[in-house]
């Protein structure tokens, strides 16, 4: 019996290997690698970029990012801002429709925004819409939902009132949390409105099927107002979290786009695929934070010395194969509303001078050679790249200060739980990706009142005061100046040592046209097309 089974399976195997052939597609299909399984397709629950890529293809917010990463009108055709800077009036497109053919209304947006701020929804990114009047109070259960500053004036006119002028509000509206849901669908289907077959969306595509960890298929939405210009018939998202596996599937020509691959592959891939390898700097900073409540890290000289001794060029060039940029400021460069960030004083020094200065500072502080012994523990979350950075930094601190450096890594959940709950440490890795293109998003991490985000327990009243002023400042230039002053304090005190400005790595097949690298890392499929 066993041998017959063997023969049978061998025959079946041979047959399927020989006779299976790829079906010919007449339609334009984009095979889009997505770096992991989306955890949700609910705009109120979403929190990660791989969900954003899918959601923004399915839905269209009031504003959207174009192929170059600039804010352009989306579901809203135009808008006006009141003179006091707190009331936006959005005019929705007359021909904006849901995928079931019903019109997209201002009521849908009102419903969506209220849904996000409702404490019962427990939206992860509820704070994205906090600039809207009463949003924060509602989300914290201190005000009625009806008081939210969003009002549908008529079917196509939406009025949004803000707490205070917020220069980056249009950016926030392009975030996936601000995407609309169909009021009718959510009221009818409840939590199931996200399921294929049920989902009603207003973007260029509509959801067809979703097999977790295998594929998510979206098809062109004929009811989209700009459907005539959508060149793709179908987009298949492949949720592959194994970076090496997605590169292999790209090389086997099974995928046209790959988001995120291991930096040490860059050189080889550039050799084989040349300009199909895309590296685009993004608004994200990789940094080490010092625990300011612990000696010797409560000493500004020690923090500065340690920060200076890190050869960021080596990290960027050798560890990340040139795919990252040395960073000397917490706010990454390339922020349109902010301009050049306030870098640390040692940014312009050569690495040797930095090391001399670092030794000097360390000596003053009484540590290192001839002083108290320096024992440093670097904590990082488990990841090969983080381990390589930690290894290199450990070696630099060993060589420069003759310090004893140990490394400790924990899985991502334990690592951040420890930091967020105020655990004691020496030096820990952290990273921040901009939620919206504004310096405030980075600087607020160091407010002394920000118990969760401020891992290093940095407490500088002067800094807090400057930030407070910036929130009240309406003039964009004056506000930018205040933020720069605040950042200068950070750069002086080095509660965190910014190491690298991160870049997004993409593989874009030659089949794909319409691709533009951008710092916002926004790539709507509707602007892309494929050739056969």
């Amino acid at each position: 019996m066993s041998s017959r089974l063997l023969k049978l399976s061998a025959a079946a195997l041979l047959g399927s290997v020989l006779f299976a052939s790829a079906p010919a597609f007449a339609e334009a299909v984009l095979h889009r690698g997505n770096a992991g399984e989306p955890q949700t397709l609910d705009q109120a629950q979403t929190s990660i970029n791989i969900e954003a890529f899918i959601l923004k293809d399915l839905y269209e917010g009031l504003t959207i990012y174009d192929a170059a990463g600039k804010i352009i009108p989306g579901a809203a055709e135009s808008w006006t801002l009141s003179d006091d800077g707190v009331t936006y009036t959005f005019k929705l497109r007359e021909n904006a429709k849901w995928s079931d053919g019903t019109p997209v209304t201002a009521q849908d947006f009102e419903f969506s925004f209220k849904r996000v701020e409702d404490p019962k929804t427990a939206a992860k990114y509820a704070n994205i819409l906090y600039p809207i009047k009463n949003a924060e109070a509602i989300n914290n259960g201190k005000a009625e939902i009806a008081t939210l500053g969003v009002k549908a004036v008529d079917d196509k006119t939406l009025e949004v009132t803000l707490e205070r002028p917020t220069p980056f509000f249009l950016e926030l509206l392009a975030h996936q949390t601000a995407l609309p849901v169909s009021k009718a669908s959510v009221e009818k289907n409840g939590a199931d409105f996200v399921k294929p077959g049920t989902m009603v969306s207003n973007g260029a595509f509509k959801l067809v099927s979703h097999v977790p960890n295998d594929s998510l298929v979206v098809e062109k939405n004929e009811h989209h107002w700009d459907a005539a210009n959508t060149k793709l018939d179908k987009v298949i998202f492949y949720p592959i979290d194994d970076q090496a596996a997605s590169v292999r599937r790209f090389e086997a020509k099974e995928m046209d786009l790959v988001f995120n691959f291991s930096a040490d592959q860059i050189e080889r891939l550039r050799g084989s695929y040349k300009d199909q390898v895309h590296v685009s700097p993004t608004l994200a900073t990789y940094y080490y934070v010092f625990d300011g409540s612990q000696a010797p890290y409560d000493d500004v000289r020690v923090r500065n010395a340690l920060s200076m001794a890190v050869d960021r060029d080596f990290l960027a060039k050798e560890i990340y194969s040139g795919s990252q940029i040395p960073a000397y400021s917490l706010v990454p460069p390339g922020m349109a509303t902010y301009g050049e960030p306030s870098k640390a004083s040692f940014a312009e020094m050569s690495q040797l001078d930095r090391e001399d200065k670092a030794l000097e500072l360390m000596k003053e502080a009484g540590y290192g050679e001839g002083g108290k012994p320096l024992e440093i523990e670097i904590r990082y979350n488990t990841n090969p790249n983080h381990e390589r950075v930690a290894t290199a930094v450990a070696d630099m601190w060993k060589n420069t200060f003759n310090a004893k450096v140990t490394m400790t890594n924990l899985d991502v959940s334990s690592h951040y739980a420890y930091l967020q709950e105020g655990g004691k440490f020496n030096v820990a890795r952290a990273g921040w990706v901009a939620d919206y293109a504004d310096a405030e998003n980075f600087l607020a991490l160091n407010l002394s009142t920000n118990k969760t985000f401020n891992y290093g327990k940095y407490n500088n009243p002067e800094f807090d005061a400057l930030m407070k002023k910036s929130y009240e400042e309406e003039n964009p230039e004056a506000r930018s100046k205040l933020l720069h002053e605040a950042e200068a304090l950070l750069s002086r005190d080095q509660p965190v040592a910014p190491l690298l400005t991160q870049a997004d790595l993409w593989l874009v097949s030659n089949r794909v046209s319409g691709w533009e690298d951008n710092a916002a890392n926004e790539h709507l499929s509707r602007f892309l097309s494929v050739s056969e």
């Binding site: 063997l6 939206a123 914290n140 977790p212 295998d214 099974e254 991502v412 969760t452």
Partner: protein, 307 residues
Amino acid sequence: MLAFVLRRLASAVPTLFIVVTISFFLMRFAPGGPFNLERPLPPATMENIMRTYQLDQPLWRQYVTYITNAVQGDFGPSYIYKDNSVAELIGKGLPYSMELGLYALLLALIGGVTLGTIAALRQNSLLDFSIMSLATVGTTIPNFVVGPVLTLIFAIVLSMLPAGGWGDGSLRFLLLPMIALALPQLAVFARLTRGSMIEALHADHIRTARAYGLPPRIVVITHAMRGALLPVVSYLAPCAAALMTGSAVVETIFTIPGIGRYFVLGALNRDYTLVMGTVVLIAIFVIVFNLVVDLIYGLLDPRVRHD
């Protein structure tokens, strides 16, 4: 026999209960929770979420709620994959894992026993040596090496087979993951078979049978095989349970939409309900396969009686 099966199944209920209880509390000892992310949540948001998932209640109450719901077949929502309940996730993934696992098991079992028997019959020959060396290589090379090497050769260099995905579920797609999954187990089966087969061939009744001049093939298949398969059958239960509940490594490398990854992902992300769901599933598989194996034992060796 039936009474034996029923008794075993009845005794599985307390086993499951203990497993669920231990894992429930064990899990909560681990630091961090499902919502400790790289991007920390503001305290107010965190509170909203904890309330929604009833994680703000005392542990014992959460436990009682969980058990009450689980008994009614409700394993709760997944904390990470929020659009799905745990039952839905497992329901969607399990058929893929089981199908792939079953193929891999058949390949490993048939291939392993055949190779092991051949090696035993030609003990110490070149053939024996080659088979055993191959089997050793099979056990020694981890599947996170076999997987990428296979795809490199067959998908990228030769462009013969797909580099991953379930596709239409045809053997074209399943062949490489199946081999990667089966190889280490095939080698184990081969070694176990060879070892016990040699022993069985030296046993008195086999020598007697041979001395009577029975054809070697009959002796091997009808007499020696029975005894020789006992260790193989012992190993079958854990092996089948492991293969059919999916492999995190193989499923990740070949992007198979099975449930193998849920256990690891769930554990690392503290998706308590998802882990509990997979724990219950694995427990059921282990119990069922052990029962099956004990029944096979009875068939192979009349001296083992289920009384």
